[in-house]
């Protein structure tokens, strides 16, 4: 290869020739100059988004393999493949081709399992990444829109997961679709018509697998790709956030350069994620569709569970109280279905718009690139904990039957407990989290002002024992005092001299957020504390020594 690089400039070997070729055609030099040494801050939690991105790449790769063999058709055939227990059974071509991928294509089962595990990890990593962004306040200006883009990605990930789960046309996936059909039918006015359009007539029909297939392999991945592109483009525009620490400010970014350190770390990490998924796929079975059989609307197996990320929706359905339906004249309001849907939608809307709400309360229009430690935003952290608890109760709701059978509890008792928990547990989580955050902040103040405990105990001449506290090094101390401190406001009249309802509301919310705040240690406070300690020390340890010496001298 290198012999073919006899360019007129003859500056180097093949590499220089390639570089020159690319620069003259795509402006590679400028691109490298701009991005080659771009700085990325380092923190383990910044890897969660990477895991999501890499899982998605694994999904694309394994998914392409599966499309070469999968046939999304519901035409019935008689099974004559190698899997004995189903021989002679009538099933759809979709289910048969999924069986054939598993048993008659080398590596087919591996790819199916890889695809399924990668999907589970994709949604999980995206969710954890969202929580990281939430609890560190990374959604603050200028990143509010990117939060919404990320939220859309999370919803698309769930949609991708569910449409894929429904393709093999096995008993489990068919029952999942049956539930979706039931939910759609419950929607006022249009329900029955939308269901009929989705399924191409009556449930289950012969169209749904092919229709979901189109969504699953074309529309949803295309949307995910577009949104990932926007998401990453905005990361480039904003540059990555960094945690507070010495030298880390809102007007700089501290970390390692893209080339070579991040190419090594992140590039290597792609292979680690891919490798781990492959290892799991090779050793841990998932969704053994051959055990479930082809879809039939009559049988169902007890104790079945959806993929984890659908659990909270299924749980919401289960937690609806009995007899919620209201019949008005000829029409039925299926509140037992509408209420859970409403709960899910409201939760998602709250999550999507939270950054705008917090920005309105604080009124802070500055850009924030230094992340909050969760404890330094106690109310936000508590809200996040409450939200997670709410989600977790819904999620547990999807397993009421399994909780009851595994722990020998009454099913009714488990359900009632969860119904109450759905309202009570988030409130408890909020209160506890807020108190813990405030305590941690006070502890930080204590450490800054009085130093860390050394475990060294001395005895004073007058018999008192005291533990020596050691002042923190400046760079460690700075991490504990560098955070944004907000104070509550009161409703003030506007230019017309009127106190608007919105001003009152904002004042109330600001009290809710910042009323019991813990302020960062100021330089004056620190100086005072230090002079006090120096004074005390003169009186204590060194002074004690001197007096003993004097005593001996005398």
């Amino acid at each position: 290869m290198s012999t073919a690089t006899t360019t007129s400039k003859k500056k180097g070997g093949f590499l220089a020739g390639t570089a020159n070729y690319l620069d003259e055609r795509v402006g590679m030099g400028g691109i490298l100059k701009e991005f080659g040494r771009k700085i990325f801050p380092d923190h383990w939690s910044f890897m969660l988004g990477e895991v999501a991105l890499y899982s998605f790449l694994v999904l694309l790769l394994s998914g392409v393999f599966l499309t070469f063999f999968f046939q999304p058709s519901q035409v019935p055939v008689i099974y004559d493949g190698v899997y004995g227990p189903l021989k002679g059974a009538e099933m759809s071509i979709a289910y048969k081709s999924a069986l054939d991928i598993s048993f008659e294509v080398r590596g087919g089962l591996l790819m199916r399992e890889l695809h399924h595990w990668a999907a589970l990890l994709f949604v999980a990593a995206a969710g954890l990444h969202m929580m990281r962004v939430f609890f560190t306040g990374a959604f603050r200006k200028p990143r509010e829109i990117n939060w919404v883009v990320g939220f859309a990605l999370f919803v698309l990930a769930m949609a991708g997961g569910f449409t894929g789960y429904s393709l093999p046309d096995d008993l489990l996936s068919g029952n999942g679709l049956r539930i979706i059909d039931g939910m759609i039918k419950g929607v006022p006015v249009i329900g029955a018509y939308v269901s009929s359009m989705l399924f191409g007539g009556e449930f289950p029909g012969t169209h749904i697998v092919a229709r979901l297939y189109g969504l699953h392999i074309l529309l949803i991945p295309a949307l995910i790709l577009v949104f990932i592109a926007i998401h990453l483009f905005m990361v480039v525009i904003h540059k990555h956030t960094h945690f507070s620490g010495p030298g880390r400010r809102d007007d700089n970014v501290v970390g390692y350069p893209l080339m070579p350190v991040y190419v090594g770390k992140a590039g290597g990490f792609f292979f680690v994620v891919f490798g781990v998924l492959m290892l799991v796929a090779a050793t841990v079975s998932i969704n053994p569709i051959w055990l479930y059989g082809s879809y039939d609307p009559s049988p169902v197996s007890a104790g079945t569970q959806p993929d984890w990320y659908i659990g909270w929706a299924d749980g919401a359905l289960r937690l609806a109280p009995t007899h919620l339906e209201v019949v008005t004249g000829p029409y039925t309001w299926a509140w037992n279905i509408l209420l859970p849907i409403l709960v899910l939608v409201v939760f998602m809307v709250v999550v999507a718009f939270y950054p705008f709400f917090e920005a309105w309360v604080t009124g802070d229009k500055r850009e924030h690139h230094v992340l909050d430690r969760p404890r330094n935003a106690p109310t936000r952290t508590a809200i996040g904990a409450a939200g997670m608890t709410f989600y977790a109760v819904l999620w547990a709701g999807a397993s009421t039957d399994l909780i009851a059978t595994h722990f020998l509890l009454s099913l009714n008792g488990v359900l009632t407990t969860l119904q109450i928990s759905l309202i009570v547990a988030p409130i408890i989580a909020f209160l506890v989290t807020k108190r813990v955050c405030l305590s941690l902040q006070r502890k930080d103040r204590e450490i800054v002002l009085h130093g860390r405990e050394t475990g060294r105990i001395i005895r004073h001449p007058h018999g008192e024992y005291e533990e020596i506290h050691e002042a923190l090094p400046a760079h460690e101390m700075y991490k504990l005092v560098d955070f944004v401190d907000y104070q509550p406001t009161i409703a003030r009249p506007n230019a017309q001299g009127k106190i608007t309802a919105s001003a009152r509301l904002r004042a109330a919310w600001s009290r809710f957020y910042f009323e019991d705040r813990v302020v960062p240690v100021t330089a004056t406070e620190l100086a005072e504390a230090q002079s006090h300690h120096a004074h005390a020390e003169v009186e204590a340890a060194p002074a004690a020594k001197k007096t003993t010496k004097k005593a001996i001298a005398k």
Binding site: D181, L198, G255, S298, T322, E325, I337, H475
Partner: protein, 343 residues
């Protein structure tokens, strides 16, 4: 990005809102925090060892990738399902090794041999400089002037109208996703009608009333279902659960009248979201839906006693024909399955 203005533009002053701008903040000690020097920076020996380790990982990866190809052929698959397991396992773990080893090697390389000192880069406000913003506004105004977008009301409003309507044909095109002109009517009827025999699911064998012992349960489909082309759609509505109760246990007169000598037939499709209500608890006479645990009391006309369902499972009126086989007296009197608006 490439045209970033590096001149001394004053950063824009934003309102801090409720934030307390600290006048008395503890000074930032700056970036030069004490740094632990790595062994690979201090000693040539360690540096060499680390380099060897990285290369070893990459060699291990090569071995893994080759092994995967070899195993693909060494473990062919056949009708014996153990071969599928072996192929999946050996091919899978060797591909995994090939990948993990690249990953471990690259990360080890970055962590031990590449610089580990953090560097800072300036970050500018996302907002454009005043100059850039002025030019942007100028461009928009110019475009507006040249096109007359604000000036020419008629053009603008007619364009809005056109843009609002153009997607509608696209939406209408989706109409034929269903060919059913009246889905709610379809939902009201099932295959059951006067004289249709109750047969077992899935074989389709007719059931004699005398064959049903007290407390036994039959999963039932209408006679002739298996021969129909739309059998899954019909089954999704017509599936029935047949139970023989002691007539003394039955609390509802209507239930007794629609049954036959203690044998009662109820729709198996849950009135919540349509799962099959497949579990019968014999000693309590409860029917339980395994999907969301809606529970129905079969001695009391299948009223809901627990769970998210709201209305009872519809009963199928039955009797026996001249030969003693169970037959339907009519279709269900209410729509089966999940609620819908016009139910």
């Amino acid at each position: 990005m490439a045209t970033k203005n590096e001149s001394h533009d004053a950063e824009h002053e934003y309102s801090a809102g409720l934030a307390v701008v600290p006048a008395d903040k503890i000074a930032d000690p700056g970036l030069d925090e004490p740094h632990r020097v790595r062994m690979t920076d201090k000693s040539k020996k360690h540096e060499k060892a680390a380099a060897n380790q990285v290369a070893t990982w990459f060699l291990v990866s090569i071995v893994g990738s080759i092994a995967a190809i070899v195993f693909y052929f060494v473990f062919p698959i056949s009708a014996d399902l153990n071969t599928v397991r072996n192929n999946t396992f050996f091919v899978g773990i060797s591909i995994a090794l090939g990948m993990l080893a690249i990953g471990f090697g690259a990360v080890h390389w970055a962590k031990t041999l590449m610089p580990d000192a953090e560097v800072a880069e300036a970050r500018h406000q996302t907002r454009g400089s005043e100059e850039v913003r002025a030019r942007a506004i100028e461009i928009v105004n110019l475009a507006n002037q040249e096109s007359g977008f604000s000036r020419r009301k008629l053009i603008r409003r007619s364009l809005y109208g056109a843009l609002a309507l153009f997607p509608l044909p696209g939406l209408v095109l989706f109409k034929d996703m269903t060919t059913d002109p009246n889905p709610t009517e379809t939902l009201r009827h099932t295959m059951w009608s006067k004289g249709v025999r109750l047969t077992t699911d899935p074989t389709g064998t007719p059931i004699k009333a005398s064959d049903i012992t007290l407390g036994s349960v039959f999963h039932v489909i209408p006679e002739g279902l298996n021969a129909r082309e739309d059998k899954l759609e019909q089954k999704a509505k017509a599936a029935v659960l047949l139970v023989r109760l002691d007539p003394a246990d039955i609390k509802s007169d209507k239930e007794k009248a629609w049954g036959y000598d203690g044998i009662v037939a109820y729709s198996k499709i849950c009135t919540h979201v349509g799962c099959p209500v497949a579990l019968y608890e014999q000693h309590t006479h409860h029917l339980l839906c395994p999907c969301h645990q809606s529970t129905f009391d079969i001695t009391n006309d299948c009223e809901v006693i627990f769970g998210p369902a709201s209305h009872p499972l519809p009963q199928l009126p039955i009797t026996v024909d001249a030969e003693g086989y169970l037959v339907a007296k009519s279709d269900f009197h209410k729509p089966v399955g999940p609620s819908f608006w016009e139910r």
